[in-house]
């Protein structure tokens, strides 16, 4: 069924989404702010601003949100944003965490969709509530406690997806830096599978390891990285959803690149 055809698929390309919309075989989620959504969006899309989701992302609440968007276990879901796929990834990951497997990311951003002259409107669709089951997938989540233990293992790779300067300034000890921009290619939120594999392989990020991603605050940039890893055939990935913000608040140890004034090289 739908879930089988989508197995292992990470992104949905523009033409496929358009035909799925015509066939009414997809639920599209726009995760931009409500004002932007109201102005215009991809036809039939419902709005779930990331901030709304994060205001309370307990499984019970998220389940209610999912139901209210008319998503049941069988619904094929495509998520998009206008922030290089990072916010969309965080929402997709949350659905996955709750047990929804058929969720993909639109391969490009909404701005790009529009710049291609593709359909959009401002109609808010009427949605029939559905019933989704709840089957949590804790294996895709890393908590700070989990991370603290995992870090000491040789078969765990920790990836920091913030920008390079932020990484140099401060990061979780042992992390490697893979800025989120690295994951994209020109108009696509993720580079091609082959390119992604080569990049990760050069970095010795391979399937033999468990991989944990994190970023600055709420797991968006690292959410994108989570999907980047999956797209390259590395499914053993976890998202440290509370990321560096929590790590610092908990006053856990951090590391920095010492004895260099790298900030002064920046033109900003």
């Amino acid at each position: 069924m739908c879930c089988l055809t989508n197995l292992g698929k990470i992104t949905t390309d523009v033409d496929t989404l358009r035909s799925e919309i015509r066939d009414k075989s997809v639920r599209v989620i726009d995760v931009r702010r409500e004002v932007d959504y109201k102005q215009d969006h991809i036809p039939t899309a419902v709005n779930l601003p990331l901030a709304n989701l994060l205001s309370d992302d307990s499984p019970e609440r998220v389940l209610k949100l999912i139901n209210s968007m008319g998503i049941d276990d069988e619904t094929s879901v495509v998520v998009y944003d206008d922030t290089f796929g990072a916010l969309a990834s965080r929402v997709a990951w949350t659905l996955e965490y709750l047990g929804h497997s058929d969720v993909t990311l639109l391969e490009t951003t909404y701005s790009h969709w529009k710049s291609l002259g593709l359909e959009n409107d401002s109609i808010v669709p009427e949605v029939q509530t559905r019933e989704h089951s709840m089957k949590l997938h804790p294996e895709i989540l890393a908590t700070s406690d989990y991370l603290e233990n995992a870090k000491t293992r040789d078969d765990v790779i920790l990836i920091d997806n913030r920008e390079r300067l932020n990484f140099l300034e401060q990061h979780i000890p042992g992390a490697i830096s893979l800025p989120y921009r690295t994951l994209a290619s020109n108009d696509k939120i993720l580079r091609s599978k082959e390119d992604m594999k080569r990049l990760l392989d050069n970095r010795r990020i391979t399937g033999d390891s468990e991989i944990i991603t994190y970023c600055g605050s709420v797991g968006t940039l690292s959410g994108l990285a989570y999907y980047a890893l999956k797209s390259a055939g590395l499914p053993n990935a976890k998202l440290y959803a509370r990321s560096f913000k929590e790590w610092k608040n908990l006053e856990k140890p951090t590391e920095k690149q010492k004895d260099a004034n790298y900030w002064d090289l920046s033109a900003e």
Binding site: D15, T182, N202, D264, L265, S266
Partner: protein, 603 residues
């Protein structure tokens, strides 16, 4: 309808004439890094390999590299700028850096990502091959070549051909040390006496027919010890250009010092041997080269002129009516009239060469829309020039530059100091010369010193250690970093030199005194004040200092000693209790200590 039917309209980009890249080198680099990490490649040979491909080490770490992208003859096309913008966001710190030798540098690159950069560069025909290491480094050409009112002909095609000849040429893969060519337009705009081979184009009438050729200077260079180059002969004909270049490279290869790393640039060879002997050797070697080279060994000089076509304005938003504030000041301090009527070359003021990814992105479109030659040229001053901008388009261009934060004035004046990377990334650095250059620029623009005609032909150059990467030796006011201390408390300190120049009267600056980092701005202002009080009406700071340095000044200031006396009270260190800030280098909030790693200049 599929998306391919809906391609966006992008303004036309002129395509580069020469593809400098080789995609195989990306794969090869990636493989070599893997072997190195697995311990299957010796540290030393890996380092040589890495440098040959244009990747330097980085301050205090083995995990990062700096990639130096060559812009032969300084040429850079819009698509290339766009690509560098993207690469800097993906693999670097979101900024790129224009150097003093027409290279663009990306810093803090993960060593394992360097091959990805090569791949990206190959998409747009650029390379970093032989940008470091013991090879022929980027071949420079004056950013004004082709438009300079004083030039005899455009040397750009010769610079490109020379770059092409030596790039990946087996003869130049393992020289005793790095080797540099600088082509220029005229005596005034270049640095031909401070480089291994410097060339000024000139035309000679030989038997009634004009012949192209060059004035060639050999054996100059800046560094721990600097030397001024010697002119080889009156006139070197165009045909002899390649033979001469090969002859010089061969002599250096054979006789250059491969043991003593501190003395292995060609200038030491010239100095040890004596000029007459060296000159003789070059002329003899050239005769041999001429007699023995295959006739197919030629410089491929592409003399087809570039197409000059004023880009069609898509829309003329401000209709040329509203001229933004600051336009006149910018026009005066950032642009020069070309030989070609109605056209100007526009220099962009950067801060010590730094530019953000988004500025690069904006710039690529600005070049497409404003340069009638459809490309840009990087200069000698960590900057960039857009040439062939029509006079009528200047106000509009200025507005566009404001939008991307690149409309600062002063590019062609003393208010745009050069600062090497210093402690921001260089292993050998003792001070944050890079930040100091930015601080001086900000302060001096605030004081509007760029508008002062007396100061415009002077220069400030700051190196973070004695190695001279910022070329402080040829600056009107030059500085190199070191450490000073009061008891146990250390502070960043600079040796100041004065009166250096790189034009027809090339000379090295004279050592003046040591100035603590936090006193440099007041000291420069003081020098300006002394000059103003004693100058003659048509003096510039540069010409006045020239007189003082040469003992020809008859005002109260008779010599450098007099200037030194006035400055001395300004450089007395306070105690750390009186002024804790004095003991912090620019850009740092922890106490100052000199700390260096293994340098790679000689590698």
């Amino acid at each position: 309808m599929t998306i391919s039917d809906l391609k966006q309209t992008i303004p036309d980009s002129i395509k580069p004439k020469i593809n400098w890249s080789r995609i195989e080198e990306a794969d090869d680099f990636a493989k070599t890094v893997k072997l190195f990490r697995q311990g299957k490649y010796a540290e030393d040979s890996f380092r040589r390999y890495r440098l040959q491909h244009g990747a330097y080490g980085t301050r205090m770490t083995n995990d990062y590299a700096m990639v130096r992208i060559k812009l032969p003859a300084g040429e850079i096309y819009p698509d290339q700028i766009e690509k560098i913008s993207q690469l800097s966001e993906q693999y670097s710190i979101g900024s790129a850096h224009f150097s003093t030798r027409e290279n663009i540098q990306l810093h803090w690159i993960v060593l394992e990502d360097v091959s990805e950069i090569f791949r990206g560069l190959a998409e747009v025909g650029l390379t970093s091959r032989e940008a470091c290491g013991n090879s022929v480094r980027n071949v420079m050409c004056s950013p004004l070549s082709g438009v300079c009112p004083a030039e005899e002909f455009d040397s750009t095609p010769y610079a490109l051909a020379t770059a092409r000849f030596f790039l990946r040429n087996p003869m130049a893969q393992n020289l005793p040390r790095k080797f540099k060519f600088n082509f220029t337009c005229c005596e005034k705009h270049g640095m031909v006496r401070m480089v291994d081979v410097g060339l000024i184009p000139q035309i000679r009438n030989i038997d009634g027919t004009p012949q192209r050729g060059f004035k060639i200077f050999l054996g100059g260079g800046l560094g721990n010890r600097s030397f001024v180059g010697h002119q080889l002969e009156d006139f070197t004909s165009e045909e002899d250009l390649l033979y001469t270049s090969i002859a010089v490279v061969r002599i250096f290869d054979r006789l250059g010092d491969r043991k003593n790393l501190a003395r292995n640039r060609m200038r030491y060879l010239v100095n040890d041997m004596g000029w007459d002997k060296f000159q003789n050797l070059v002329l003899k070697e050239r005769a041999v080269v001429r007699a023995t080279q295959s006739v197919v060994t030629q410089l491929e000089v592409d003399k087809t002129p570039n197409v000059i076509k004023r880009p069609v304005r898509i829309s003329n938003e401000n209709g040329g009516e509203i001229i933004p504030d600051g336009y006149a000041r910018w026009l005066k301090t950032n642009t020069v009239k070309q030989t070609q009527e109605d056209y100007r070359s526009v220099f962009l003021t950067l801060e010590a060469g730094d530019i953000t990814a988004s500025q690069l992105h904006g710039l690529s479109n600005i070049i497409r829309n404003f340069s009638s030659e459809g490309m840009a040229r990087s200069g000698f001053e960590q900057n960039l020039a857009l040439r062939y901008v029509h006079e009528d388009d200047l106000p509009n261009l200025y507005s566009k530059l404001i939008e991307i934060g690149l409309a600062k004035s002063g590019a062609l004046t003393m208010t745009a100091p050069i600062g090497c990377s210093g402690t921001t990334s260089c292993n050998l650095a003792l001070t944050n010369s890079h930040r100091l250059a930015k601080e001086i620029q900000r302060k001096f623009l605030e004081l509007k010193l760029d508008e002062d005609d007396d100061l415009s032909d002077s220069s400030i150059k700051i190196s973070g250690c004695p190695n001279s990467c910022a070329q402080h030796g040829i600056a009107t006011l030059g500085f190199f970093g070191g450490g000073g201390h009061v008891g146990k408390d250390m502070y960043a300190n600079y040796q100041m030199s004065i009166g250096g120049r790189s034009d027809g009267d090339t000379m090295l600056g004279q050592t003046l005194l040591r100035i603590p980092a936090k006193r440099i701005i007041p000291v420069i202002l003081k020098v300006i004040e002394i000059f103003k009080a004693n100058k003659k009406s048509d003096d510039t700071l540069k010409s006045w200092i020239h007189r003082v340095v040469n003992g020809n000044e008859d005002s109260e200031i008779k010599s450098l000693v007099d200037i030194k006396k006035i400055l001395e009270p300004l450089v007395i260190p306070p105690t750390i209790e009186e002024d804790p800030d004095f003991y912090l280098d620019y850009g740092s909030d922890t106490s100052y200590h000199t700390k260096t790693g293994k340098g790679e200049c000689a590698a």
